[in-house]
Symmetry: C2
Subunit: 94 residues, 2 copies
């Protein structure tokens, strides 16, 4: 029921789950820069630390703990963890 | 740097990280009831879903998303995920 996901040689890892038919993951990003492609649209909530994101190549923005950004379906985004690992909740919107 | 932890046949899983010398994990609890012992004190923040906790055998209390409970060092607590998996942030205070 829970699924462990690992990307970029273990530098991004998450635990996937589903509740009320909606899929989500909680995960951690180690320092570094990573590019992800999306199938469904995603809502990313920063839980700990600080994340910089470049969504759809629109430019980098900084998201501290407690803030949220969304990524469209069939898109791409780059993320960076700033000053140490950062934790996130990713909710799939589609 | 990131560490995947799995407990109770994979029904509780987390990703451990450290920033500014403080250890933390983000994880998910599948439906069921689980008992954990603590070494350091812990602050648990519910990120998604709902958790019931029985800290130090003081009785069960319900913690919805956005709420927090703390567990003393060298103690124990029981947790339940209610109505589906629940996600949490665990910050080690010691």
């Amino acid at each position: 029921m829970l699924k462990h996901n690992t990307y970029f040689d273990g530098k991004v890892q998450s635990i996937g789950f589903e509740r009320n038919g909606l899929r989500a993951t909680v995960g951690v990003i180690a320092p570094g820069e990573y590019r992800f492609n999306t199938a469904a649209a995603e809502r990313m909530t920063v839980l700990s630390g600080q994340i910089q994101a470049n969504v759809g190549d629109a430019g980098w923005a900084t998201f501290p703990t407690g803030t949220v950004f969304e990524v469209p379906a069939n898109g791409a985004f780059d993320v960076r963890a700033v000053g140490g690992p950062a934790a996130y909740l990713c909710e799939f919107l589609g």
